[in-house]
Symmetry: C2
Subunit: 325 residues, 2 copies
């Protein structure tokens, strides 16, 4: 899959730079590469996802119609209507969610941390510009107030227009939505939240900083006592090194931390996981604090998460258990 | 993805046929279509999997070298050496196993039924021509005798040559290997096995009959009292109808039956499941009869299965639980 990028050399660092500048340069290079790939990869109505994070294997999806296509200040944004997966949101060439299976991801990244907490009254969502996590968090009976900080207003706008099944989350009366940088927001909000959920894209492009130690330290400072954080943390099949690193960072900051996972077929390897950290050193992550009955599940329209799935999500395959020990 | 198949018309039934003949004709048509697709789908060193069972989305894998390519009496057989998934076996255009992740499938289809049984001394494997299931079954400490019936001698031959990490299973002194039809074999072996594992390809081509009721009835007749069957049964994300039908068939024949699943990233949707039936009406599938310690796991080189994963594999996402109820 050839890349066409005549201006690439312009971005390559030519003089010694400090670490932060080098990382920023590399982010720009990767972003340019991905943009050109996205243009190249919609051929014969098949969109092909490619990313250096999962080399040698890729998923393609049959597109009926390109509903939207733009470059925002932060990333490439595409919305496709597809033949068998409904509406699909693609950022920087990577599938973020499909109408067919988004419920699995949104429910799990929301209810796993919420149900690990005894009383998750005030919740911060960082990212989540499609509205799906807000939709799920708002369902939890103990949640009173949700604050969301999404960096890219264009993602919110596009989701409201084309992905109403997720953007409905923005309509919750519990929610206050800010457009801005989660980093900056948390610097000004100390000891305020019971649960912080980071619904980010993968660590290329604008989300790189959300996988670093100073981000986890900031989240810690924004939490109330016994607070819990939950971050999208990649898949064990493609990125076990990334999962391991993210968990290590979380463990550096929090007295208790672990990894759980869910099945999401349109994510690379069909699986995605979450690093969860808690300020409560005695927490037992795999025992939900609030047990849902089948009637509760039905009332909240939960299609993936249940109290039984909560427990099972923390049971790791042997090779993962050993690597993350 | 255009199909080139000039001789296809020759296969289309032109006169009324009985059901069995029509199914056979359709099998041949599908097989021809898939063969032509396989030829078409290895382009620029990327092999693309396509199958009508999972429309609108497809997985591609980067190939370093085509190690083997032939049409056996039953199916197209390809072996690829790939850039990031090691050696890969492809039958009729569908990835059967990759060196990177095959352990997850082989361990789960073997140890789930074996550990549901109190004393799985004698085991029948139907299919499994790559040797991977034999490799795993032979590890179980209570298994004394394994009989395997694979219909396609060419798959065995190719696996011995190119996939020794799986074909090592054929070297077990516990194993007797037959080349032939599992159907015919079981007709002549009544009440003989404690566990029957059907490691089949998907229900297109030679494996269609292994998803039908008379196959489950035959397995039942070949089992000893309290015997257990386990069949590859597709994924809940693409084929919930197929899973549901296969489970229904199993429930018609067995007093207890259920579905469990595993994560296998190179299978469609990154997940595959198993229908498990037992002649013991009081069986509790999610409680393994033999609990493995970490030392046991290590001694058996188990990289996915553990007694904890055994329990978790039966916990179904809510939308699946309701559909299979």
């Amino acid at each position: 899959m050839p890349l066409v990028c005549p201006s690439l050399e312009a971005f390559i660092p030519s003089a010694p730079l400090d670490l932060s500048s080098r990382i920023n340069k590399l982010r720009i290079i990767i972003s340019v590469l991905i943009r050109h790939q996205t243009m190249d990869t919609l051929k014969n109505n098949w969109f092909t996802e490619t990313c250096e994070l999962w080399p040698g294997g890729t998923f393609s999806i049959e597109v009926k119609e390109v509903l939207h296509s733009e470059k925002s200040e932060y990333q490439d944004i595409h919305v496709f209507d597809t033949k068998h997966f409904g509406k699909v949101l693609v950022l920087d060439g990577i599938i973020q969610c499909t109408e067919k299976d988004e419920f699995s991801y949104q429910e799990m990244i929301s209810f796993l941390p919420l149900c690990c907490h005894k009383n998750p009254e005030k919740v911060l969502i960082v990212g989540g510009g499609d509205g799906g996590v807000a939709r799920e968090v708002a369902k939890h009976p103990l949640v009173k107030e949700i604050v969301q900080v999404e960096i890219d207003a264009k993602v919110i706008e596009v989701s409201k227009k084309y992905l109403p099944f997720m953007a409905v989350g923005f309509d919750s009366p519990k929610l206050t939505l800010h457009v801005g940088d989660g980093f900056e927001f948390m610097k000004n909000h100390s000891q305020e939240f019971d649960v912080i959920i980071t619904d980010s894209s993968d660590p290329v492009g604008p989300a790189v900083s959300l996988f670093q130690e100073n981000y986890f330290a900031l989240m810690k400072s924004a939490l109330k006592p016994n607070g819990i954080v939950c971050s999208q943390a990649g898949t064990v099949w493609n990125d076990l090194e990334l999962v391991s690193n993210t968990l290590k960072i979380c463990k550096n900051q929090f007295p208790s931390a672990t990894y759980a996972y869910a099945s999401v077929p349109t994510y690379p390897s069909g699986q995605i996981g979450f690093v969860i950290g808690s300020l409560d050193k005695d927490i037992v992550f795999d025992q939900p604090q609030l047990i849902f009955s089948e009637e509760d599940e039905k009332a909240m329209n939960l299609r993936y998460y249940s109290s039984a799935i909560h427990k099972a999500a923390f049971v790791l395959p042997t090779f993962v258990k050993h690597r993350l020990a």
